[in-house]
């Protein structure tokens, strides 16, 4: 009996078209993920091939998670179908046992699911053969790579999933419970992620994820491209633990289900209580009771259908109440709210950054956390609303009532959008609640209301209307769900193709970013066109839905005609006209007034630029030596006039007769016009392109060697209208920030080329630039900021609105008011790199001094959280750097807050613009083990740039970033350590180590050693600070700082030639004892990885009261090539081994009781300590100074004995 039943069930699954629909969807997703860029499920890959075991496994994990929501119905319906049809009672009366019946059903569903998910490897394999697939992104096919993820992730995952859904379906007998379970699992994933984000919780984080996505990330987080291309997921450690756990959970659930499920009628765990008592006692009025004895029912005399309004109102109220009484609806909404709440709760943390729970942040979290659930709620419940009566078989009663069809449709639509409104509102309240609970009770209603009700909420109408149309057209509700999923998916595909045009992306919300400084800024301009367009489209969709709405038991063509009344036509026409008008306004703004470029168009523009202008790259040009700016800002009108004189000298030794000037050109909504560009002598235009802002002229009389040329430019800036991607915010009502790029430069700009290897190959461009060799004198003679400048002198006159302060590098010589504008004149008295900016805002200024040097923080009046901390950091940094690295070259230090449209801090000479989003609202919490006091650190880092590289600029060669960023990062870490102590530094280094390892895992080209880093942030920031800090420990601070100072002193404020890491290494090597030269090689000149581990610790209390601690530790060392292929090398390195006291809250390690540097060789060794107090923790490399992929096992707790 069992085999027949099993075979019958299995055949049944594959006889249903919907099963094949699932197969088709999964196959298509996998197929296109491999063969095109349309489905970007997998992270940017670079050197990692799309059909590498890494990419295929990741694809599989993600599709398993997404796919479960779609395919869950397969399992739950397997068990539910019989209950619904009552077949289970028939089956129950046959010879098959209860367990046999359930087992056959489960096994068939499980096997069917496995086969459905086999579509992923098959699709991926087929995708690898697609003729159009980019061959360079693929590697030779190894079948095992395709099958293995299905085996190790798939089988346990599908088993867990099937078991869970089967158990839920069998126990609740509700299809909805199945859906809810699926969503719950997805939310659980994100909640689990939020809960376990601390570094040391890897084990827990791994276990809470039923889809093994996190597991996958943990296993592969430090894999280099070479490993990603060749390694399959090892069935051990994280993976086996996770898979076995969840398969086990599935098995337990299944057992529970098998035990509890009864097949008798209505045996679903007794949820449904019958209404009894009242009925039996109710009196039955006997037939023939005189009419007077019965309650009188008023006989109507006039018969009229309810008005459109009355019908609408009743339908709306009834269905709103009905949904609010529905348990699954409340369950999904509650899960959604939990998700919003969790999102808001953790919104103030991202990596090492902790932020005050600002209102805009909470509003962001509320909108972000609600999004998925808005989609889920509207997809399912529009389906419910449309199919409700047909489902409960009340459609004939409703349809034969006189209520107007429009009332039904609009009533249901309104019920849906009202419920979404309630959901969004509750989310907002959750955000406010979190804000208050987290101790920042200053609720700023504006960003909440604006973001939730004005920006986000109206954008859902179009999606809801679309769902109504889809559900009114499809023959079954489930098909409507699938169609809706495909519609969402098509939006993703559209934007992946770079076609994320607001008028194409169904219900896309207008672009909006809140800034406390600049409020909603220019964004509200886009609200009306975008919302107006989509609301008009919604009207059209609803009009069509009305035409398609089934009334009665047959779907009729005639109905369309009958409903195509004047009113309907008016609605459709109104919607179409509205869509045309608002869409037209948007199109005019985004595509006529401004440009919309799809990704491909953008790429082609860069290609055209390179084709046309690269040939001028080698042009010899004079060097800029002085810059004088006149900038008139009109922030209130989003306009500006920039003018200036660039003084340049021909230092080439040969006459120069051709000039190449690159001026800023229009971008986004910013229209930039070049009023004039004069050269102080007669010129002839040779060639140019206003679109790129390029002008190449021939000087009528060539510029003789050492002769001076003055180039004067006048440009006008104006922000016009709106752009698809939002407005340009460089000029803002409050918080203008014109960076160096907003002023002219000389010569071809290599930075504007396409940089990705794949794209360059696609467009047949020469290979991407790599860094230039450190010995290439042409590039050593060219400084890193601007190839046609040396050190310059600088002054700027800036005018702005009367209530704003304008700032530029230099010292304020004069401030005055003219024509109702406020003027400032800044003059710089020391040579600076060709790197400056102009800012203007309404700031409060907090002042202090260090050794007579003014320190000024220009900040938004409300953002006083960290101003003192920034001042303290400034003082400490100036103190340390001027002591160890040479005098501070300026007489003033200014930190300027700018709106959070960008999230960086950047050092200009004596001026540090610092984003509102990072330091000013950061919340420092020293009891948090992740917190690294970012405002203090970043301030110190930016100040260090005044030394590195502004005092000795580096040449445009490999390693240049080490001389600026690594030095600054390191210097800031030393400043932070002075404040917070060594245990704090360990936290920082551990975070840096993690970032470095992840960074190299994602390297798309080739990893360089630190001294040859080239534009690789993970190397010159993270590895840089780690390496220099480790060297400080080995060489001593004085030696290391001495070498840095010697490097600076060698050519301070001089150039060309400019500095290279070869210069620094020469200084460093000179002071490094031979015994430590290995460390220079390991940290700076090669890619070296260590693997040290404390295997065991024993601690015994001796008779003298002291503790004898014995540590056993293993160590080895590897060298990696640029793609990450490793070879082991002999180790004989000085490493810390130590015993520590209890760690304070917020740190991982306490003060050392005893620590010593030991020569550690490859292999296992014993280390003995005798310490006077009770040890808490001990081990090898406790401060994480070695680059080690498992830093968590360096120390262990000392066992309590």
């Amino acid at each position: 009996m069992f085999p027949q039943l099993f075979a019958f069930e299995l055949r049944g699954h594959f006889r249903r078209p919907v099963t094949w629909l699932y197969v088709a969807i999964l196959f298509a997703l996998a197929f296109f993920a491999i063969s095109t860029d349309a489905v970007l499920v997998v992270d940017g890959l670079g050197k990692v091939k799309k059909n590498s075991p890494f990419a295929i496994a990741q694809l599989f994990g993600i599709l398993l998670a997404i796919g479960q929501v779609i395919t869950g119905a397969l399992v739950s319906s397997a068990i539910l179908r019989d209950f619904e049809d009552g077949v289970h009672e028939l089956v129950f009366t046959t010879r098959v046992t209860r367990v046999g019946y359930l087992a056959a059903k489960f096994l068939a569903a499980f096997l069917a699911m496995l086969l459905v998910f086999a579509a992923v490897p098959v699709g991926a394999l087929a995708g690898s053969f697609a003729p159009w697939a980019e061959q360079s992104s693929l590697q030779p096919i190894v079948l095992w790579y395709y099958i293995q993820p299905w085996l190790v992730i798939g089988i346990p995952g599908v088993f867990f999933l099937s078991a869970t859904l089967f158990a839920v379906g069998a126990l609740t007998r509700s299809a909805f419970a199945g859906y809810v379970t699926g969503i719950l699992l997805l939310v659980g994933l994100s909640v689990g992620q939020a809960l376990t984000r601390t570094l040391d919780n890897d084990t827990l984080a791994n276990l809470v994820d039923p889809f093994a996505i996190r597991t996958f990330n943990l296993v592969t987080r430090y894999w280099t491209p070479a490993e990603k291309n060749t390694l399959v997921l090892p069935w051990s450690g994280f993976l086996s633990a996770n898979r076995l756990l969840w398969a086990g959970v599935g098995a337990v659930l299944l057992l529970v289900a098998f035990r509890l499920v009864r097949l008798e009628k209505s045996a679903g765990l007794g949820r449904r209580r019958r209404v009894k008592a009242a009925v039996t006692t109710a009196t039955v009025l006997p037939h023939g009771t005189p009419a007077s004895a019965r309650p009188a029912i008023a006989r109507r005399t006039s018969f009229r259908a309810p008005s459109l309004l009355a019908g609408w109102s009743s339908v709306m109220k009834f269905h709103t109440v009905s949904l609010l009484r529905s348990v699954p609806f409340l369950a999904i909404a509650t899960i959604g709210l939990i998700n919003v709440f969790m999102g808001a709760w953790y919104a103030d943390q991202s990596g090492e950054t902790r932020t005050w729970p600002m209102s805009w942040l909470m509003a962001n979290a509320a909108v972000g956390g609600a999004g998925l659930f808005m989609i889920v709620l509207l997809t399912f419940y529009v389906g419910e609303l449309v199919w409700r009566e047909r489902q409960v078989k009340l459609d004939q009663v409703l349809d034969s009532s006189p209520v107007r069809t429009a009332s039904i449709l609009v009533g249901k639509f309104t019920a849906m959008v009202l419920l979404l409104l309630a959901f969004a509102t509750t989310g907002m309240l959750a955000g406010m609640f979190v804000q208050v609970v987290k101790g920042f009770a200053v609720i700023n209603l504006k960003p909440y209301l604006l973001h939730i009700y004005v920006v986000d909420y109206p954008s859902w109408f179009a999606m809801v209307a679309m769902a109504f149309l889809v559900q009114s057209l499809v023959p079954r509700k489930a098909i409507g769900h699938v169609v809706m999923i495909l519609i969402y998916f098509s939006s993703i595909v559209l934007s992946n193709f770079g076609w994320g045009y607001k008028l194409l992306m169904l219900g896309d919300a207008p672009v909006y970013v809140w800034s406390d400084m600049n409020g909603a800024g220019p964004y509200p301009m886009g609200f009306l066109p975008v919302h107006g367009y989509w609301l008009s489209i919604s009207l059209v969709l609803l009009g069509l839905t009305y035409l398609a709405w089934q009334r009665g038991t047959e779907r009729l063509r005639a109905q369309w005609r009958a409903r195509f009344t004047t009113g309907t036509r008016a609605v459709l026409a109104g919607g179409a006209i509205g869509a045309g008008a608002f869409g037209g306004i948007f199109y005019y703004n985004a595509s006529v007034l401004n440009h919309f470029r799809s990704r491909t168009e953008g790429e082609k523009r860069a290609v055209a630029y390179e084709h046309a202008w690269r040939k001028y790259e080698a042009l010899t040009l004079p060097k800029v030596v002085a810059v004088s700016l006149q900038v008139d800002l009109e922030p209130e009108n989003l306009r500006a006039r920039t003018a200036g004189t660039l003084t340049m000298v021909n230092k080439s030794g040969r006459p120069i007769d051709t000039m190449y000037v690159d001026v800023p050109s229009s971008a986004s909504t910013m229209h930039v016009a070049l009023d004039s560009l004069s050269f102080g002598r007669p010129v002839h235009d040779l060639v140019g392109d206003a679109g790129y802002g390029i002008r190449i002229v021939r000087l009528d009389s060539a510029l003789a060697p050492n002769d001076t040329l003055r180039v004067r430019f006048v440009q006008r800036w104006e922000s016009r209208g709106i752009a698809n991607g939002g407005s340009d915010t460089r000029i803002a009502y409050n918080g203008t920030f014109l960076n160096r790029g907003e002023f002219p430069a000389l010569g071809y700009q290599a930075d504007d080329e396409l940089s990705s290897d794949e794209l360059r190959k696609k467009y047949k461009l020469p290979e991407a630039r790599r860094g230039h060799a450190r010995t290439d004198s042409a590039y050593v003679n060219r400084q890193e900021f601007s190839q046609h400048s040396d050190f310059i002198t600088f002054d700027a006159t800036v005018s702005t609105a009367p209530d704003q302060i304008a700032l530029a590098p230099g010292y304020k010589e004069r401030e005055w008011t003219a024509n109702g504008r406020r003027y400032f004149h800044y003059v710089m008295n020391a040579p600076i790199p060709d790197f400056y900016s102009v800012l203007s805002a309404r700031w409060d200024v907090t002042r202090d001094t260090w050794n007579g040097i003014p320190i000024e923080i220009y900040h938004h009046p409300d953002h006083t959280f960290n101003v003192k901390r920034m001042i303290a950091a400034s003082k400490a940094a100036l103190e340390l750097y001027s002591r160890d690295f040479g005098a501070y070259q300026h007489q003033q230090l200014r930190i300027l807050e700018f709106p959070r449209y960008a999230g960086f801090a950047q050092s200009f000479p004596n001026t540090v613009p610092y984003s509102e989003g990072i330091g000013f609202v950061a919340r420092v919490d020293s009891t948090d083990v992740e917190d690294t006091d970012l405002p203090y650190f970043v301030t110190s880092h930016e100040i260090a740039h005044q030394w590195f590289p502004y005092q000795r600029m580096s040449g445009d060669v490999e390693g240049k970033d080490m001389l600026s960023e690594s030095f600054s990062e390191y210097a800031a870490l030393v400043v932070s350590e002075h404040l917070h102590g060594r245990p704090f530094t360990q936290k920082f280094l551990r975070a840096e180590l993690d970032s470095y390892l992840r960074g190299r895992a994602n390297e798309k080209k080739a990893e360089h050693p630190l001294t040859r880093t080239y534009g690789q942030a993970y190397i010159h920031y993270q590895k840089g600070s780690l390496a220099l800090f480790a060297l400080r420990d080995l060489l001593g601070e004085r030696v290391l700082h001495g070498a840095i100072k010697a490097y600076q002193d060698e050519r301070r404020f001089m150039g060309p030639p400019y500095g290279t890491t070869l210069d620094f290494m020469r200084q460093l090597r000179a002071v490094t004892p031979d015994s430590l030269h290995y460390a220079l090689e390991d940290y700076l000149e090669t890619i070296t990885l260590w693997d040290v581990k404390t295997d065991s610790i024993t601690s015994t209390k001796q008779s003298d009261g002291q503790y004898k601690v014995v540590i056993t530790a293993t160590a080895r060392k590897m060298r990696a090539d640029s793609l990450g292929t490793e070879t082991e090398v002999a180790m004989n390195d000085l490493v810390d081994v130590g015993v520590f006291a209890e760690a304070k809250r917020g740190t991982r390690i306490g003060e050392p009781i005893s620590i010593r540097k030991v020569r550690v060789k490859t292999g296992t060794a014993r280390y003995e300590f005798v310490v006077p107090t009770k040890p808490a923790r001990a081990g090898i490399d406790p401060y994480n100074l070695l680059i080690d992929r498992s830093p968590g096992d360096n120390t262990r707790e000392v066992p309590d004995k």
Partner: protein, 298 residues
């Protein structure tokens, strides 16, 4: 005041001819529509209830051309379909209130009175706040008739309302129907002959989409009066009798078959004459319509 159905025909897309030239005139009062499963009763009901169109023919009620102006008919219509359900998570009161509004009882006070009167009439007042998901079949059926009655329809159509109800519930339900005013056209479709006999002043039998017979139940009995004969035989012999006589119905009773035979004269052979009831007419007509053969189980 009379519902006039004139030459109504309907063929479904799958080729099933559900209504074939049906002409009926239905006066106010209770009208019974009898017919076996698949006779076209439900199609006829749905067509009258504006839920689907006919291919040809017309339906007229009080100057309303139903096919052309379904909206007008819906204003005076109450309809209880054969198989129907209710919003399971909602209380009876809210459902009834909702439908009363949809039927045009939009004045709040009037509707409130109406809802509570109806709930009392159908004996659900005490459980009006309970979700109908927990109601028994009979309770649901009574709430259904309350919905149909809301708005005092002039045309009430109830399709197989007593199927699946126990005798008590069935009684309760028929009582409700009996109380409806005389000026209302009530069409009661059923395949239970007793329902018609007890309640209807007029009736029709349809089979295979055609009207087999129409008239007053009492008079219809005259058609077979004196020609219905009964005999109880062992079950095993039933087939022999079928072959020999025009058996119009066979019912099991205490393990034996009770046969009803239509015969102009006494068939002898132990048959005794019985007073005919509607069932005999019904089966006789059905048998006649299908060429004298009676389905074995009938």
């Amino acid at each position: 005041m009379t519902l006039l159905i004139d030459h109504l025909s309907k063929t479904y897309a799958n080729g099933v001819r559900a209504l074939s030239d049906i002409t009926l005139s239905i006066p106010p009062g209770m009208f019974g529509l009898l017919g076996p499963n698949g006779a076209g009763k439900s199609t006829l009901m749905r067509t009258i209830a504006t839920l689907q169109p006919a291919d040809s023919g017309s339906i007229r009620f009080r100057d309303i051309d139903v096919q052309r102006n379904p909206e007008q008919l819906r204003e005076v219509l109450g309809y209880l379909p054969q198989e129907f359900g209710l919003y399971p998570n909602m209380p009876a009161e809210a459902i009834l209130d909702h439908f009363a509004t949809l039927k045009g009882v939009t004045a709040h006070g009037e509707r409130k009175d109406l809802v509570s009167a109806l709930l009392q009439q159908v004996n659900l007042y005490d459980v009006r706040k309970k979700s109908v998901g927990g109601y028994s079949g009979g309770m649901k059926q009574r709430l259904g008739i309350a919905i149909a009655l809301a708005g005092s329809p002039k045309l009430l159509i109830v399709d197989e309302p007593t199927a699946g109800l126990d005798p008590t519930e069935r009684n309760r339900f028929l009582n409700l129907l009996a109380d409806i005013g005389d000026d209302v056209v009530v069409i009661l479709s059923t395949h239970i002959v007793e329902d018609v006999r007890e309640l209807c002043s007029q009736m029709a039998i349809i089979n295979k989409g055609e009207v087999v017979l129409q008239g007053v139940p009492a008079r219809i009995l005259d058609e077979v009066r004196g020609r219905i004969w009964r005999r109880t035989v062992p079950r095993t012999q039933a087939d022999d009798y079928r072959a020999r006589y025009q058996v119009i119905s066979a019912r099991l009773s205490a393990g034996a078959s009770v046969l009803h035979v239509f015969s102009e004269e006494d068939p002898g052979d132990g048959f005794e004459q019985v007073a005919p009831d509607l069932e005999d007419v019904y089966f006789h007509r059905l048998a006649a319509a299908s060429g004298g053969r009676v389905p074995a189980e009938a």
